[in-house]
């Protein structure tokens, strides 16, 4: 039930070592008390000479050093254990994110996810670096003290036995609250991160609308929320240590009273026994108290683990893949869509009954009004979205039986708003191809994409850093860098989502001839609004409201489809006044 516990169980070696060192620690604690008592007793009551206590002093010195060394060792073991577990959880999260289907990856705020990967995982640290070592110590050392004290003076032992259970009882009650509160705290932290990152991305927009003041207030609010939830968690911690302190104070007082009375009134015990008990009693409660604090930390970690588990255990509709291989890789496959359905969610937009055939080396254009589902269809074709009905056949094989890797090796997809990574231009183009990519092929791709003249005019050429933290590029330049990726890959299926929006006619011409060249060896499917991109297509799919309402060539559509005709007309005719 508790994931962290399972991980702690797995760390057998460290645990056994911690047990051994805790036993040793217990011995040093008791020995330290013994030496102290013996020295004081001899000097103070027995009037012994200084020489006679020298062995005791040396023994004490040894014990003190040993105690420090053991404390160090315990702490270190905890730190190491924490590192291993944090690494594990973080890579689990990253693995999960990398397997997410496209849709899931869009949901929620990125900043919140970043916060889970960083803050929540860091929060786990305490469970292993503090809680576990402390649990082991506290289940050993106080027991040893209790046994020794009871042997020396049973009544003190009894008082300890009666009062001690109050302490764990108390932190169990507190702990339940802590876990909930610290989950809340992490939530607040995530909300803050999410909001901040989103704001950061849209800062120019906010400024243009004169809204950065209001956004500041929002940021302030989530920052204060985070403070308040932190204080809530801390207050519980403080109250609990106050209570623990009081309980142990009362208990120590009780023991002191009892010992004192016996010593003075009944004279039934010796000074050395009394002093011994009095030195060990605070140690006994100290270990219990420390556990209380560690318990608090541990509970916080459990809250974090809960958050991570939630992030890991979301159910997603994934795209299905199999492990059949395509027969031939050198020729573009024949693609067939049969009665394909897809919906983003229960209501809202859906693709319906998509039927299409895309022969090898053909050029297909997808046209339609904005919002009619062109990009969605391209996503489906690319294998980014799960079908809810129907299938896609590739060379007669159902695509869900194909190997995912092989499929993606054959396609290139230039999306409507490609992302530029923070890195050099060369790296950004090289993203297009797996494995080692030579500089030469990158440059070739850049030439074909019509971006080479710009790159060469830059001081650092292909090594210019772009993306976040780098040089800015114009809209069309970004697009061309992304297009270069496709030219680098030389796939057998190319999906273009309006590759030439935002490009002037001249640049577009360069690009069109490069695409023409690509089409010698690949099937091309393009979403396009511009007539001249569409006109030469072998087939045009006209989409409306998530359906393909008509298929045919330019001439056929122009003849039969009034909407298509209107589209062509407007492009030729011009803009309204």
């Amino acid at each position: 039930m508790n994931v962290l516990k399972q991980h702690a169980k797995k760390q057998k070696a460290t645990r056994s070592l911690l047990i051994v060192s805790s036993l040793l620690l217990g011995i040093t604690v008791i020995a330290q008390a013994l030496f102290f008592v013996s020295i004081v007793d001899q000097i103070f009551l027995k009037g012994a000479s200084f020489e006679s206590i020298i062995p005791d002093l040396i023994g004490l010195l040894f014990v003190l050093v040993a105690r420090s060394a053991l404390t160090y060792w315990n702490g270190r073991a905890g730190v190491k254990m924490a590192s291993r577990v944090k690494e594990y959880f973080r890579s689990q999260l990253v693995y999960k994110f990398s397997k997410n289907p496209l849709q899931t990856s869009m949901e929620g705020q990125s900043g919140q996810k970043v916060s889970t990967v960083l803050d929540a995982v860091d929060e786990i640290d305490g469970y292993f670096s503090q809680y576990i070592p402390q649990v082991i110590q506290t289940s050993i050392v106080p027991v040893m003290i209790l046994v020794v004290v009871s042997m020396e003076h049973i009544y003190s032992g009894i008082i300890m036995m009666i009062t001690a259970p109050f302490i764990p009882l108390f932190y169990i009650i507190i702990g339940i609250m802590t876990k909930k509160k610290s989950e809340e705290q992490l939530d607040k932290m995530a909300v803050f991160s999410g909001r901040f990152l989103d704001t950061l991305q849209g800062l120019s927009t906010l400024k243009l609308f004169g809204r950065s003041r209001q956004q500041k207030e929002l940021i302030e609010k989530s920052s204060l929320d985070f403070r308040d939830s932190t204080m809530e968690v801390l207050k519980i911690a403080f109250v609990s240590s106050l209570m623990l302190e009081l309980i142990s104070m009362l208990s120590i007082g009780l023991i002191a009273l009892e010992v004192g009375l016996r010593l003075v009134l009944f004279q039934s015990i010796t000074f050395s026994t009394a002093f011994f008990v009095l030195i060990l009693a605070p140690e006994f409660y100290l270990f219990l108290k420390n556990l209380g604090q560690a318990f608090h930390t541990g509970r916080g970690s459990m809250g974090a683990a809960q958050k991570i588990a939630e992030a890991l255990n979301t159910e997603d509709r994934e795209v299905e893949w199999g492990d059949t291989s395509l027969g031939r890789m050198d020729v573009p496959p024949h693609i067939q869509l049969q009665n394909v359905h897809f919906a983003y969610d229960a209501e809202g937009f859906a693709l319906n009954g998509i039927q299409a055939e895309i022969p090898p080396y053909s050029q297909t254009a997808i046209v339609g009004k904005s919002g009619s589902g062109k990009t969605t269809l391209l996503h489906v074709l690319a294998g980014l979205l799960p079908l809810s009905q129907g299938s896609v056949y590739v060379d007669g094989l159902a695509r869900c039986d194909l190997k995912e890797e092989q499929w993606f090796d054959t396609v290139s997809y230039i999306s409507q708003n490609p992302f530029l990574f923070s890195g050099t231009i060369a790296e950004n183009i090289a993203v297009g191809k797996k494995g080692e990519v030579s500089r030469e092929s990158v440059e070739q791709a850049a030439i074909k994409a019509g971006i080479a003249p710009l790159v060469e005019s830059l001081e650092n050429g292909y090594d210019t850093i772009v993306g976040e933290g780098g040089r800015g590029l114009s809209g069309g330049e970004k697009q061309r860098v992304a297009i270069a990726r496709a030219f680098l890959k030389q796939p057998s299926i190319i999906l273009f989502d309006e590759p030439t929006t935002g490009l002037d006619l001249q640049t577009e011409q360069i690009l069109q001839s490069s695409i023409q060249e690509l089409s010698q060896s690949a099937t091309i499917i393009t979403v396009a609004h511009r007539l001249h991109t569409i006109k030469h297509a072998d087939q045009i799919l006209y989409m409306d409201h998530g359906e393909i309402v008509q298929k045919g060539t330019h001439l056929e559509l122009e003849e039969n489809n009034p909407f298509y005709r209107a589209m062509v007309k407007t492009q030729q005719g011009g803009m309204a006044k």
Binding site: D125, S193, Q201, T205, K207, Q416, K434, L531, M575, K577
Partner: protein, 570 residues
């Protein structure tokens, strides 16, 4: 150090809480010493069979000290943490405030994931500066002074030992640790920042990574970044335990010296034996407070780095010029550029070169030109996101310097080439343009951009990820329509729209902008015949300008483009 000074200044706002923390910290510490000292004394005294009332008095004292200590500790923690976290939350807001004016230039220097890490992680780290560096040494000093003062009455030797111990554990060892700390470079903060930016990029670039099957590679990189970060944490953790154990060993050694010297003194009758146990207890307890001093240098160094990372982002505050003029409200105005040249900061190449243009109030201008020729840059300058390297920009014949950025932004309807949508409802995203717009108004603009089917409560995902490309552009236009200012700057507002929708949308825009000044960047040449003026850019320079017919007659760039278009459109 400079960086921390700024933090310290912010801290002094919570003065009262700081004093209270010191006060209660001292109380908690000194009562603990008193408590254990008296218990040591009590037991020794008891061995000498004193009258019972002394005993009860002592025990009563013990109890009071116990309570005082528990409450003192509680209050100290409460006040110190309250002050600290209030400060941290203020620091976050301050950081954002200073960051805001630096956009959009800031993103050419820093990645957003890194900035996130700074505002969350680095500021969080500063808590240690107050909680462990700033006031604990003061508390420690007071406790020791009081204790040593008390001890002098019993044994000067022990008092000296305590003083030496304080010097070693409170100063010498920490100084040595500090020296060591300085030499090994800790990269914890930087590693956290780089992990954070890697994760952010991974999430933002997910689709491209997936398509190009680079998720695996990126995942590996992420794991390496995580491993590096954890390594640093581990190093730090081990170092902390080491320093703490070292310091605690030294404190135990001091106690050992106290017992050894004490025993020696007692055996030579220079000290009454009844105080021996008490002195031991004092030494054991008082040094408990000194152990955390071992971590002061590490926390100090860490806070310093954190403060530095925060400071370096926001240090170059833009020079604020007091506006002397404000733009006319509800009246179109003219724009003029006089030999304006501009290069982006840190760039050698100019993006605009000697640009002269005049846009009369209420006129419609189209700007065309190759990709990368400086069209969007022109808008950035008109919006005063950047200042020209040379030349002047005039609004209504008055220099741009006279107006504040906020004023200019408030008076323009802008559609950028890329527009941002925030995670939230469609309504919220529209209200950005007009805070108090009614739902009817919103429905009206949605209808104008052909998005009447959308529910105002619909959730918009981050960056508008669940909108189609054309829908995003239309929403941006809807915002501009809502804002109803008299200057329009439209940067390829319909590049992803089909021609039919485009035309319908333009109809509304041009209708509303009938009397307004409007500048449109466009790659489509059809329809430009209705514009008053067309300006053609090439490589940052204006190569042609004039009316549609004038440009055709010129048979230059525009004419050639028109030819190309004719070829492809027939």
């Amino acid at each position: 150090m400079n960086e921390l000074r700024a933090v310290m200044k912010d801290m002094m706002v919570e003065k009262r809480d700081i004093y209270l923390s010191v006060l209660f910290g001292f109380l908690a510490g000194i009562t603990a010493v008193a408590l254990f000292a008296s218990s040591g004394y009590l037991i020794s005294k008891a061995a000498l069979l004193p009258p019972i009332y002394t005993l009860s008095l002592m025990i009563a004292f013990l109890k009071i000290m116990g309570f005082a200590r528990a409450f003192g500790r509680y209050l100290e923690r409460l006040y110190s943490h309250r002050a600290t976290f209030t400060m941290l939350s203020e620091l976050r807001v301050n950081f954002y405030e200073k960051l805001e004016p630096l956009a959009p230039t800031i993103f050419q220097k820093y990645k957003s994931g890194d900035l996130l890490s700074r505002i969350v992680g680095d500021i969080d780290r500063l808590q240690n500066f107050f909680l462990r560096v700033y006031y604990p040494p003061i508390v420690l000093g007071f406790i020791f002074l009081a204790t040593i003062f008390f001890t002098v009455f019993y044994s000067v030797t022990v008092a000296i030992l305590l003083l030496v111990g304080l010097f070693v554990t409170g100063f010498l060892l920490p100084a040595w640790f500090a020296y060591k700390q300085r030499r090994i470079e800790t990269r914890l903060r930087e590693e956290r920042g780089s992990l954070s930016s890697e994760v952010t990029e991974f999430l933002y670039g997910f689709m491209d990574l997936k398509l190009y099957q680079q998720l695996g590679t990126k995942k590996k990189e992420l794991e390496q970044a995580s491993a590096r970060y954890i390594d640093e944490q581990e190093k730090e953790g081990k170092m902390a335990t080491y320093h703490q154990s070292m310091n605690s060993m030294v404190t135990l050694l001091v106690s050992w010296l106290v017992i050894a010297f004490g025993a020696y003194l007692v055996s030579n009758n220079e000290l009454d034996g009844v105080f021996l146990a008490m002195l031991i207890m004092i030494s054991l307890t008082v040094f408990e407070n000194a152990v955390p001093m071992a971590l002061v240098p590490a926390h100090f160094e860490d806070s310093r780095r954190a403060a530095k990372r925060l400071h370096e982002v926001v240090q170059d505050e833009p020079v604020k010029v007091e506006p002397t003029k404000s733009l006319p409200v509800n009246k179109p105005f003219s724009l003029t550029m006089k030999s304006v040249s501009f290069a982006f900061p840190g760039e050698e190449r100019t993006s605009l070169e000697n640009v002269d243009l005049h846009i009369p109030a209420g006129s419609k201008t189209a700007i065309i030109g190759a990709s990368g020729s400086g069209k969007s840059t022109l808008f950035q300058l008109l919006l005063k996101f950047y200042n020209p390297t040379s030349g002047t920009i005039l609004y209504d014949e008055i220099s741009q310097d006279a107006y504040s950025q906020e004023d200019i932004w408030a008076r323009t309807n802008v559609v950028q080439q890329e527009n941002h949508y925030f995670y939230g409802s469609l309504r919220d995203n529209l209200l950005l343009a007009k805070e108090r717009a009614t739902d009817e108004e919103l429905h009206e603009v949605l209808e104008q951009v052909h998005m009447q089917d959308f529910d105002l409560n619909q959730t918009i995902l981050e960056k508008g990820d669940n909108l189609s490309g054309g829908e995003k552009q239309r929403l941006a236009i809807a915002r501009a329509l809502l804002k109803k200012e008299r200057l329009w700057l439209l940067d390829e507002p319909t590049s992803s729209l089909d021609a039919v929708t485009e035309q319908a949308v333009y109809e509304h825009v041009f209708h509303q902008a009938k009397d307004d000044t409007l500048i449109l960047i466009s790659h489509r040449l059809t329809g430009l015949e209705y514009m008053d003026q067309i300006i053609v850019f090439d490589q940052g320079e204006i190569v042609e300008s004039g009316s549609y017919q004038e440009l055709l007659n010129l048979e230059g760039y525009f004419y050639r483009m028109k030819q190309i278009e004719k070829e492809v459109l027939v």
